[in-house]
């Protein structure tokens, strides 16, 4: 999964953000966007020397200032699982369509058969048509 997807799945997890200036922010990711802008909560900010610490209840980071992010190992696993789930859901959504299409396509003969069986007496004309068609297909074979 893409780096920003992983960042998205890190929401709610603790992470370490290092800025280009060398300052680090330790906190829980609240939200993020496609520009890597972040909002964090319960943050400990460290200056670039690592000598001073500041507690911030929440903070906003503009993405362009970020050098890198460190996320917990579990997040990769979670992201993988989510990714797989999404794929399966996608498959579930797309398969019935295909199935329906197939049924219409290849099952027309069967349905025709159904028509005949159910309504054969009511639609004599159509029944005849189908009979003809049946005959034609028999010739084809």
């Amino acid at each position: 999964m893409l780096p920003l997807t992983l960042l998205n799945t890190s929401q709610g997890h603790p992470m370490l953000v290092e800025l280009k200036s060398g300052e680090t922010l330790n906190g829980h990711l609240v939200n993020c966007d496609a520009w890597m802008n972040l909002t964090l909560k319960e943050v400990v900010q460290t200056n670039s020397d690592g000598t001073r610490f500041f507690r911030l209840p929440e903070c906003y980071v503009r993405g362009n200032n970020i050098k890198y992010l460190r996320v917990p190992d579990e997040v990769l696993e979670i992201a993988r699982e989510k990714n797989q789930q999404q794929r399966e859901e996608h498959r579930k959504v797309s398969q019935p369509q295909r199935g329906g299409y197939n049924r219409q396509y290849s099952g027309s003969g069967q349905r025709g058969g159904g028509y005949q069986r159910n309504r054969g007496s009511a639609n004599i004309g159509r029944g005849g048509g189908q009979f003809q068609r049946g005959g034609r297909s028999a010739q084809q074979y």
Binding site: M1, L2, P3, L4, L6, L7, K20, G22, M36, G63, N64, I66, K67, Y68, L69, R70, V71, P72, D73, V75, L76
Partner: protein, 143 residues
């Protein structure tokens, strides 16, 4: 691919952008950052900005002929900060000509190096000012 069979042939498509990282996915890489840090980890994914996801990453501090590793875990590196990405040959990896030392030692050596560098810069800048140059910026890239 043909190029795999005959190394004299160039691959039919040569990516000159972040796309050439496809070959590096799931391989062990050395990533050099603009601040001089060296990260060694397995590339799991990347995007068009060369943002990278590295797993099981170690940070290797190298000073002269000494090195020391720090385990760091998963990194999302913002592409802007990447200087170079190089694949590590697992066969040649063990034949490093460097001596592993403790973290304390490496930190001390690193600090020493930084101090030396600062001193050099100061002397250089003062000399430049003497001969009429104007110093208005500091060197930002440390690699």
């Amino acid at each position: 691919m043909e190029s795999a069979a005959d190394p004299s042939l160039l691959p039919s498509i040569i990516f000159t952008t972040a796309a050439q990282l496809v070959d590096c996915v799931d391989k062990k890489l050395l990533v050099l950052l603009r601040d001089g840090r060296k990260l060694i980890g397995i590339l799991r994914s990347f995007d068009q900005y060369a943002n990278l996801v590295l797993q099981d990453t170690i940070e290797r501090i190298i000073v002269e002929q000494m090195y020391s590793d720090i385990e760091r875990g998963v990194y999302i590196v913002r592409g802007e900060n990447v200087v170079l990405v190089g694949e590590i040959d697992p066969e040649k990896e063990d034949r490093v000509q460097l001596k592993e030392v403790s973290l304390d030692e490496i930190y001390a050596a690193q600090q020493n190096e930084i101090d030396n560098h600062k001193r050099q810069e100061l002397t250089k800048n003062s000399k430049l000012i003497d001969i009429g140059f104007f110093i208005d910026s500091q060197q930002e890239d440390m690699y």
